[in-house]
Structure formats: C-alpha cells, structure tokens
Amino acid sequence: MKRALTAALLVAVAALLLAAVAELPPHGSPDSPPYTHVSAYYLEHGPDEAGAENMVTNVILNYRGFDTQGEVTVIVTAMLAVLAVLLWTGQAEGDQPGPAPAATGSSLVVRFIVRVMAPFIAVFGIYVILHGHVTPGGGFQGGTMIGALVIALTLVLEDTRSAALLPRRPARLLQVAAPLTFFGVGVIGLVLWGEYLYYPRDPSSLWITELLLLVVEAGIGLGGAIVIATIFRVMGAQR
C-alpha cells in the first residue's frame, strides 16, 4: 500500500515536471528569456565597468555584492548554530550518549599521500582564490579547498599537532573574516564615494575596483576555509 502510494506520487511529480520542462524554450537557444534581459547587459558592459574579466566574479562581487554579503553572513550564522547545537550542555545529565564510535587510526598510505599532497593543495587553493577574477574560481571555491586540506590534515595528524594547525584564538577572529572584509570594503565605498559597497566604474580608476575585489575574494576564501574546518572539528570532537 505504502509502496503503491510512493510510486503514484513519484509518477505524478515526474509527469508534472516533465510536462513543464517540455514547454521550455529549446536547450541552448540564444533567444531564451534568461539570456536576453539582464545577462546581455552584464556580458556587454561587465569587463569594462566591473573590474574583473571573469563575468561570474563581476556578478557575484560587484553587481550583486549585497547578495553575496548576505551569503557569507549565512555561512557564519550556520557555523554559530552548529557550535550552539553541539556544544550546548544545558541538560547534560538527561543526555544518554549513544555508543561511542570506534577509534580507528588512518592507514599509512593515507597519511603519506596527504602529507605529500598538502603543499600542492595549499598552493592550488591560494591560486584559485587570488585568480578568481581572471580564471574560473574565486573565494568560495578556493576557500573550500583550503578547508578540505585542513580537514584532511586533521584526520592524519596526531591530536596535539592538528590543534596547532588551527589555534583557537586566531581561528575565532578568522571565522568572521568574510563578513568583516565585506563590511570594510563597503564602508570604504561609503566614505570615498558615498554609497555602501560601491566600486568606481570609470576606466581610469578600474584598478581600484580590481584591488577591492581581490581583497574581498581573499577575505571570503580565508573566512570560508576556517568556517568549514571549524564545523568539521566541532562535529568530530568527543564530548
């Protein structure tokens, strides 16, 4: 009975969605509505007025900078919520801990490979962060790589050495690096040009825009990496 209901629901949802999808303009046609309105403007004027050759970076950091500032705030808020959920010990006596996970060390192969690869992953992550305006990539992507590197090192190193990897007090400051950088750059725009998160658009001062975008990318990358590493560390910690 339950199976029949599930199958009926899935078929109904799939039929509805497929019918809707069949009505869309053909895939890849240059006349489809998403392509002909605001994107055309971005593609035409982006490289000359927004400061980055990569138009995705232009959209994220310049044209829709407010959106991205909200986004980095979302990551930090999620991290704070994770910390609150996992470290909260209000009713410690009522908790019945589940069975403790078996402690297993990582194998020699994993330890060796992670150690050999670590510097290359770090360099590639930094490259992706700092070249986000001319090649595919940017703060979020590179930050995720650095964060994954910290996680991999945490898995293979002994506890004392992996704790030194991400010292508590600097980490606390760096966790909010992304929103703080956005706020700082926004205030620079407010003071110099009278608009929050404003970037100069005339070709003569385009280098200022590029510099500001670079600062924001670096802040997003650093903050994102630390947030990911922190979330992982809190989840893995034994209470």
């Binding site: 629901l9 895939h27 890849g28």
Partner: protein, 117 residues
C-alpha cells in the same frame, strides 16, 4: 511532447535526479539518508538552473584575449554559487542536529524515534 523532451534532455535529466532525491526522502528512515535525498533534490535544481544558462556554441564567460561571443550566461552560475553555499550551510546545521539526536536518543532511525515518543 517526446520531441520537445528530447530537445530539452538536460532539463529532463534534472527532473529524473529530482525524483531520485524525492524517493530517497520518502522511503528512507535513517535521518542522514533522508537528508542526503534532500541534497540530491537540491543538486537537481542547481543542475537545472545552470543548464538554463547554456548557449549553443557558447564560450566560458571570461573576457580577455581569445574570448569571443556568444558567452554562456553568467547569471545562473553566480546565483547557483550562492545556492550551493547556502545548501552547504543547511547541511552542516542538519547534520549537527542529527548528531545531537544521536547523543540524546541513541538512534537516528525516524520510525524508532516515533515509537520512542
């Protein structure tokens, strides 16, 4: 309709992926598996929206030497980058809540939790 679907095969593929995720959410009792189903649904939506921006014969939307129009639409890619980050945040929060449930109740199977109530 079959012709139109064949033309929009990329969109149809994301519909299939969406249904796989929905199936997982409905049928699995393990909370982590349920949430992974939700993540599959999210991925389907992301793939669909990114596919909306594809242009036949388009170049990557990066100006500079050697780049020539038509470019792929940069807007869906930028929006989906935001979406992915928010999905990661919600995943982290949901997993931490599941860890909390595991510590409190010793199980993360939805049916066992319902019985224990």
């Amino acid at each position: 309709m079959i012709d139109a679907l064949w033309q929009n095969l990329d969109y149809a593929a994301s519909v299939v992926l969406f249904c796989i995720g929905l199936y997982t959410v409905i049928t699995r009792e393990n909370l982590i598996k349920k949430f992974m189903g939700l993540n599959i649904m999210e991925t389907a939506v992301f793939a669909f929206i990114v596919a909306l921006g594809v242009v036949e014969g388009g170049d990557a939307p990066i100006a500079g030497s050697g780049a020539a129009p038509p470019f792929i639409n940069p807007l869906p890619q930028a929006l989906i980058l935001t979406g992915i980050v928010v999905a990661v945040s919600t995943t982290a929060l949901a997993l931490s809540l599941i860890i909390r449930i595991w510590r409190q109740c010793g199980t993360i199977e939805a049916d066992e939790l319902r019985e224990a109530e």
